[in-house]
């Protein structure tokens, strides 16, 4: 039983890792391998300790979401600590940073401008655009907001185009599609 369970969790673990990799970018500080391994261990322990446990789909999903939320919290703490370390150490040329200080400052400035532009969007476009920027597809936006997929697509597309136009007016030379 244990070997069969192990093999089954390994088989499904590969697909889970793929799903996490698709949805988690590295800049969010999450590691797909770590999350997949943690989910597998949690399920293994629960199923091995309680032979009568009925692992319903919602239970499994809850394990996944709990693991992701925990991983996100840990990533948030690491991010906050790294900012504190940078502030305390000041400028250290030996420490390589993905962005130069001026670039980092520029990124922060554009981030503020983006938030301001989103705030200026018409209300009906604002929420779909925010959800689209968070990575939800038009289909998911429609499901969350209770609108049709076509309406969600149009609201997201027009809203993002409006944001790009506004940001170009504010000096953004190039914006990724």
């Amino acid at each position: 039983m244990s070997d069969a369970l192990k093999a089954l969790l390994e088989k499904h673990g590969k697909r889970l890792r793929m799903l996490i990799e698709v949805h988690c970018s590295r800049d969010q500080g999450l590691d797909a391998d770590d999350i997949e391994q943690e989910v597998r261990i949690k399920l293994w322990k629960a199923l091995d300790s309680d032979k009568n446990l009925v692992a319903a789909a919602s239970y499994i999903q809850k394990v996944v979401v709990t693991t992701v939320v925990d991983a996100v919290r840990r990533a948030q703490v690491r991010h906050a600590e790294s900012i504190e370390d940078k502030d305390e150490s000041g400028f250290d040329p030996s420490v390589s940073s993905p962005l130069r200080p001026e670039a980092q400052a520029g990124r922060g400035q554009w981030s503020d401008l983006l938030m301001r532009c989103i705030g200026e969007l018409p209300e009906r476009r604002r929420l779909p655009v925010q959800l689209a920027l968070q990575g939800f597809t038009a289909d998911e936006v429609a499901r969350l907001t209770g609108s049709s997929v076509t309406a969600a697509q149009q609201l997201c597309y027009r809203g993002i185009e409006e944001l790009k136009t506004r940001l170009r007016e504010l000096g953004a030379d190039a914006i990724e599609d």
Binding site: M1, A4, L5, L8, H12, R15, L16, L19, I20, V22, H23, C24, S25, D27, Q28, L47, K51, A55, A56, A57, S58, Y59, I60, Q61, K62, V64, V65, V68, V69, V72, R73, Q76, H79, A103, G106, R107, W110, S111, D112, L114, M115, I118, L127, Q130, L131, L133, Q134, G135, F136, E140, R143, L144, G146, I160, L163, K164, A172, A174, I175, E176
Partner: protein
């Protein structure tokens, strides 16, 4: 200047959990959204919470993405845990408390078998069935009803019978 990636900028700006507690989602709520269910009165606040927190949005997206995966794994686990036929019969045998009944039946059968072995062998008596020869047939002809229906009694013996 690098081209601006609006998604990355926005996710960076909305890192962490929302300040407003009403916009924070529980794990159960994230799972419900993953199944496409409405959160009722909390729904609007919850969706605003997804829009304003990249971490919550990530958890919700993964919840949606893993809905089918969870279903498939749950189904395979159920198959794995379903007992085989022999095990099920064994379980039923124990649960039905049949061993004493079967033991009593077995003892009774043994007793009957022992009694039968002790009896002298008596074969069944088969009565011989007489075989009829072809010329022993009593009535081979067809019964003629016209004789029985004859109204005149003297006609039966040619009219010579004198009572």
């Amino acid at each position: 200047m690098n081209p601006l990636n609006l998604n990355a900028l926005y996710r960076d700006a909305t890192r962490g959990l929302p300040q407003d507690a009403d916009r924070r989602l529980t794990v159960d709520e994230l799972v419900s959204l993953g199944h496409g269910k409405s959160l009722g009165a909390r729904h609007d606040a919850a969706i605003a919470g997804l829009a304003s927190s990249s971490h919550q949005a990530l958890a919700a997206r993964l919840s949606m993405a893993t809905a089918d995966w969870s279903q498939a794994l749950a189904s395979d686990l159920a198959d794995l845990r379903r007992p085989r036929l022999a095990a099920r019969i064994g379980e039923w045998f124990k649960a039905a408390t049949l061993p004493p009944v079967f033991a009593a039946c077995a003892i009774s059968l043994l007793a009957v078998a022992a009694w039968r072995v002790g009896q002298p062998a008596v074969g069944p008596i088969i009565a011989p069935t007489p075989q009829l020869a072809a010329d022993d047939v009593l009535f081979s002809g067809e019964f003629d009803g016209s004789v029985a229906q004859h109204s005149d009694p003297d006609q039966l013996f040619g009219g010579d019978f004198d009572s």
